[in-house]
C-alpha cells in the first residue's frame, strides 16, 4: 500500500543514500561546488553553448549559414560552418547513417531547399520542440534545481526539460514526448542524463524533432546519454552519446563546451514562435523553384 | 401558498383537509417517526407513490396510455388541490400551446413525445409520482433513488445555499430542512425540458417547487408540492399525492437501464411522415 507521504519520504531518502555513495570522486579533482539541501551540486544559473558550437544546432556536421543567411540573422558574414568539430565519434565528424537512412536524409535535404508542402519545412522552422540534444544548442539555458530534480528552461519556443535525479523509473514507453523522458543522476560533479521515449512519426518523420536541421531523423529506439561535466564554476564539458540501432551503424558522440552567461540579472523572455510564424511564403518559393526545375540539395559546403 | 384574497385562505385549507380526512385511517395524534443517527426523522425505505402518471388534472384518462378503458368514476378528480378546479392555471398563451398534445397524446409525433418516454430525467415533482422509489438518509442529506431511469435526487439538509441561478438542471437544485417531522424542500434551478405528466403539462426554467413530505404513519407519507412559475402560470398551484411503504419489493432497488435499451422504442415513434 503506497501512500503519497510514504512515497515522497522514500524518494528523498534514496537521494541522500545516492549522494553519500559517490563523495570520493568529487573531492579527487576540479571544482568543489556548494551543495543544495538535497546534496546536489548547485549548478543554478544561465548557461549557453560556446561560440564553437554556435551553428551546430543547424547541422552537427557542417554548422550552418552562407553570407546571405548570416546577413538575414544580423551575424558576421564570415560566421559560416563549424568552428570546431562537434561530432567527436566517429572521428570523421559525419553522422554514421545506415544506407537506407542516407537516402531518407537526402530526401529531407532536397525538400528543405524547395519546400512545397508543410511537411517539408523542418521542425525548428515550424516552432516545434527540439528534443535532446538539440534543445541545448539553441540559445540560453537557465538551470533551476529543487530537491530531487534539475529543471532546464529555454527561451526558444519556451521549451523546458524536467530531469528527476531521485532515481524514479522512466515513464512507460507508451507516453512518448518530443523532449524525450529524462532521468538524471550525479556522478561527482557530472550530471549523467539518460533520455528515451522520444516521440516518433513513422510516416513523414516531420511530426517529431530532428536532431539537426539537415534532416537528421531518428526512430522510436533513439536513446541519448548526456554527460554535463561541471569542470569549474563557469564551464561545462558537455558530451552526448546518440544511439538508434534502426538508423545509425554505431552510437555516435558529440562534445562541446557550455559556459555560464556572465550578464548580470539576465532574464529569459517570452519567445512566441508559433504565434508569429508564417510559412506560406516559403512554400510559395518552394513551388516556384520546383516548377522551374531548380531543385538542389540544401548544403553549405557544396558550391 | 399565497392566495390573492386572504378571505379565501381558510376555505382552501378546509377543502384540502376534507380531501385528506376521508383518506386518513390513523388516529388523530400526529405520527412521530424514529430518528436517524444524525437526528433526522427517519423515513427511510422503499415507497410506491399513489398518484398518477398519465394526466394529473383529470384522473379519468389514466388508462389510455396503456390502451385500457377510461374510468368515468374518476372523471373530474385531479391531483391538484389548489386551485380548487383541479386545473393547472396556465396563462392564455401556454394553454394554447398545450392544445395539440390532446389530439395526439395517444399517438404522439417525436416532437410531442413525453420526455420521460425518451428516458430523460422526469423532473420534480414527477419523479416522486412515477414508480417505486427509495428514501435514504445518510448524515446531512435526504437522497431519493428512483427505480425508473436509475435517477436520483440529493437533498442536503445542512442549510447550504443554492447553486448559481443560471445553472439549470433536470432535477433542479434541492435544499431541505426539517420542520418538526415534515421535510420542507425548496427546489430551484429547474430546466424547462420536463413535464408533470404525459399531457405536456410544461413549465419554464423559472419554475420553483416547494415540497412538504409529512410521515403520517409508519407506512404512509403525505406529499404536497406548491409549484410557482410566473412565466407560465397565472398563480401558484398545489399538487398532492401520498406514498405507501412498499411491503413486497424487498430491501434493494435494482438497476433499471433505460437509454441503453430505448433505441427500439424511439424507432417505433418514427413512422413514415411522423419523424
Amino acid at each position: 500500500m503506497s501512500t503519497r507521504l510514504w512515497h515522497s519520504l522514500r524518494a528523498s531518502a534514496l537521494v541522500l543514500v545516492l549522494w553519500w555513495a559517490a563523495p570520493g570522486s568529487a573531492a579527487a579533482q576540479g571544482w568543489s561546488p556548494s551543495r543544495l539541501p538535497d546534496g546536489q551540486p548547485d549548478i543554478q544559473g544561465t548557461w549557453e553553448g560556446s561560440a564553437d558550437s554556435a551553428n551546430a544546432g543547424h547541422s552537427l556536421e557542417e554548422g550552418c549559414c552562407d553570407p546571405e543567411h548570416n546577413k538575414m540573422q544580423q551575424r558576421a558574414a564570415t560566421n559560416i560552418g563549424l568552428r570546431k568539430q562537434v561530432i567527436i565519434d566517429p572521428a570523421n565528424g559525419r553522422i554514421p547513417f545506415q544506407p537506407w537512412a542516407i537516402e531518407k536524409r537526402r530526401e529531407h535535404l532536397i525538400n528543405l531547399e524547395a519546400p512545397t508542402e508543410l511537411q517539408h519545412i523542418e521542425p525548428e522552422d515550424r516552432c516545434s520542440l527540439q528534443g535532446v540534444p538539440r534543445s541545448n544548442l539553441r540559445g540560453p539555458i537557465q538551470i533551476l534545481q529543487n530537491p530531487g530534480q534539475v529543471v532546464m528552461l529555454f527561451e526558444w519556443v519556451h521549451a523546458y526539460r524536467v530531469i528527476p535525479v531521485d532515481g524514479r523509473p522512466h515513464a512507460p514507453k507508451g507516453a512518448a514526448t518530443w523532449q524525450g523522458d529524462s532521468r538524471g543522476r550525479w556522478e561527482g560533479n557530472t550530471l549523467v542524463v539518460e533520455v528515451t521515449n522520444f516521440r516518433f512519426d513513422p510516416v513523414g518523420y516531420n511530426k517529431q524533432p530532428w536532431i539537426d536541421s539537415h534532416g537528421t531523423f531518428y526512430t522510436d529506439t533513439l536513446r541519448v546519454v548526456e554527460r554535463w561535466k561541471f569542470v569549474d564554476a563557469n564551464t561545462v564539458d558537455y558530451e552526448a552519446t546518440i544511439e538508434d540501432p534502426k538508423v545509425f551503424t554505431q552510437p555516435w558522440k558529440i562534445a562541446y563546451q557550455i559556459q555560464r552567461l556572465r550578464e548580470k540579472n539576465f532574464e529569459l523572455i517570452e519567445e512566441a514562435c508559433w504565434e508569429g510564424v508564417s510559412v506560406s511564403n516559403r512554400l510559395e518559393a518552394g513551388r516556384i523553384a520546383v516548377k522551374s526545375g531548380k531543385q538542389r540539395i540544401h548544403s553549405h559546403s557544396e558550391p | 401558498m399565497r392566495s390573492r384574497c386572504p378571505m379565501l385562505l381558510p376555505v382552501l385549507v378546509l377543502a384540502s383537509l376534507i380531501a385528506v380526512v376521508d383518506a386518513r385511517q390513523e388516529p388523530a395524534k400526529p405520527y412521530a417517526p424514529p430518528r436517524t443517527a444524525d437526528g433526522q426523522p427517519d423515513i427511510q425505505g422503499i415507497y410506491n407513490p399513489v398518484g398518477t402518471f398519465y394526466n394529473i388534472e383529470d384522473l379519468e384518462y389514466q388508462s389510455l396510455y396503456q390502451n385500457f378503458k377510461p374510468n368515468p368514476s374518476l372523471s373530474g378528480k385531479s391531483l391538484i388541490i389548489d386551485p380548487p378546479d383541479g386545473k393547472i392555471p396556465y396563462q392564455a398563451w401556454a394553454a394554447e400551446k398545450r392544445k395539440p398534445i390532446y389530439q395526439l397524446h395517444g399517438d404522439p409525433t417525436p416532437e410531442y413525445v413525453d420526455p420521460n418516454a425518451q428516458c430523460w430525467p422526469q423532473g420534480v415533482p414527477r419523479h416522486m409520482n412515477n414508480r417505486e422509489f427509495e428514501i435514504f438518509q445518510p448524515p446531512g442529506h435526504v437522497v431519493i433513488f428512483n427505480m425508473a431511469h436509475h435517477s436520483y435526487r440529493v437533498i442536503p439538509v445542512d442549510g447550504s445555499p443554492h447553486i448559481p441561478e443560471n445553472v439549470k438542471l433536470w432535477l433542479g437544485d434541492s435544499r431541505g430542512r426539517w420542520e418538526g417531522n415534515t421535510l420542507v424542500v425548496d427546489v430551484t434551478n429547474n430546466n424547462d425540458q420536463t413535464w408533470f405528466d404525459v399531457m405536456a403539462s410544461f413549465h419554464s426554467d423559472a419554475m420553483r417547487v416547494t415540497e412538504r413530505m409529512t410521515p403520517v404513519g409508519p407506512d404512509r407519507i403525505e406529499y404536497r408540492a406548491v409549484i410557482t412559475d410566473p412565466k407560465v402560470y397565472t398563480r401558484p398551484w398545489t399538487f398532492a399525492i401520498y406514498f405507501n411503504r412498499s411491503k413486497d419489493y424487498g430491501s434493494e432497488l435494482y438497476e433499471e437501464a433505460c437509454v441503453e435499451v430505448n433505441d427500439r422504442n424511439m424507432e417505433l415513434l418514427k413512422r413514415p411522415g411522423r419523424n
Binding site: 508543410l118 529543487n146 523546458y160 516521440r199 517570452e270 512566441a272 508564417s278 | 446531512g140 445553472v167
Partner: protein, 250 residues
C-alpha cells in the same frame, strides 16, 4: 450556520479553515516560505466558461469561479463577448494553439509544475509547454511591451505569493466562452497554500478599457499525488489540424 452544518455533517469536510491554521503542515523552503514546488491541477470546468454554466455536449456543467458570478463588461465589450461566443469555434485563440495567457493557463485542465527558488518561481505548463518565469522582488520592465503570458513580478505577503502581471497583448481569452480583455490587462494572482496538497488561487483582474471595475475569480489548486507523476506534453501546434491551417495562412 457553519456550526449547525458541522453538527449535521459528521462526514463531509468544508475547507473554509483559516489558511494560517492549516498551513503549518505545509513543507517550507530553507528561507522559511511555504514550498509550493510540485505538480498542480485546477479541477473545474472554468476552461469552458469561467461563469456558471449548464452542461452541453462535451461541456461539463460548472458552478463558475467568478466572485459574484458576473463580469462587469463595458457595454461594447459585452457585445464583443457575445460575438466571440457565437464564433468561438474559429475565434478562440486556443483553437490556433496560441499561448493561453494568464490566468487561463492555470485552469485549462492540464497539470502545471511550480519550480520555486528564492529569487525566481517558474511555472511550467503541460499545455503547449507554456512557461512563466516569475521574478521575485524586482520591478516590471518599462512598457509598452506585449507578451502572450505577460511579465510576472512577485513578492511574499506572509504565506501568500502575490504575483503582479502586466504587459499582455489583447489576443488571449479567459476561457472558451469568449471572455476577453485588452492589452491594458493587469492581473494580480494570490497563491495561498491551504495545506500541503491544496492552494487557494485567487486572481484580481483589472482592464479599464474593457471592464467598469476590477473583478475576481478564485479556485483551489490540487497537488497531484498520482504515483510517479510527471508533466508530459500537449504539443498542439504539431497536430495535423493546426499544421495544415498554418501552411495555408497568407
Amino acid at each position: 450556520m457553519l456550526k449547525t452544518a458541522v453538527a449535521w455533517i459528521i462526514g463531509a469536510v468544508f475547507l473554509t479553515a483559516a489558511p494560517d491554521a492549516a498551513a503549518q503542515n505545509m513543507p517550507r523552503t530553507p528561507d522559511g516560505k511555504p514550498d509550493m514546488s510540485g505538480i498542480w491541477t485546477a479541477v473545474n470546468s472554468a476552461a469552458w466558461n469561467i461563469l456558471p454554466h449548464a452542461a452541453e455536449d462535451g461541456v461539463p456543467a460548472g458552478l463558475g469561479v467568478v466572485d459574484g458570478n458576473e463580469i462587469p463588461y463595458r457595454p461594447e465589450a459585452a457585445a464583443k463577448q457575445r460575438a466571440n461566443f457565437a464564433n468561438r469555434a474559429t475565434l478562440d485563440p486556443e483553437t490556433k494553439c496560441w499561448l493561453p495567457g494568464v490566468p487561463r493557463a492555470t485552469y485549462m485542465g492540464f497539470p502545471f509544475q511550480i519550480v520555486q527558488t528564492p529569487t525566481q518561481v517558474s511555472i511550467l505548463y503541460e499545455y503547449g509547454h507554456a512557461l512563466r518565469n516569475i521574478f521575485m522582488n524586482s520591478p516590471h520592465p518599462k512598457g509598452p511591451i506585449e507578451f502572450w503570458m505577460g511579465d510576472s513580478r512577485a513578492k511574499w505577503d506572509g504565506d501568500t505569493l502575490v504575483v503582479d502581471v502586466v504587459h499582455f497583448n489583447d489576443q488571449t481569452w479567459f476561457d472558451r466562452a469568449g471572455n476577453h480583455h485588452s492589452e491594458q490587462l493587469h492581473v494580480v494572482e494570490r497563491y495561498t497554500p491551504i495545506d500541503r496538497d491544496h492552494i487557494n488561487y485567487e486572481v484580481t483582474i483589472e482592464d479599464p478599457k474593457v471592464f467598469t471595475r476590477p473583478w475576481k475569480m478564485s479556485m483551489p489548486l490540487y497537488r497531484r499525488v498520482d504515483r510517479n507523476m510527471q508533466l508530459l506534453e500537449y504539443e498542439c501546434s504539431s497536430f495535423d489540424e493546426a499544421f495544415r491551417t498554418r501552411g495555408a495562412e497568407r
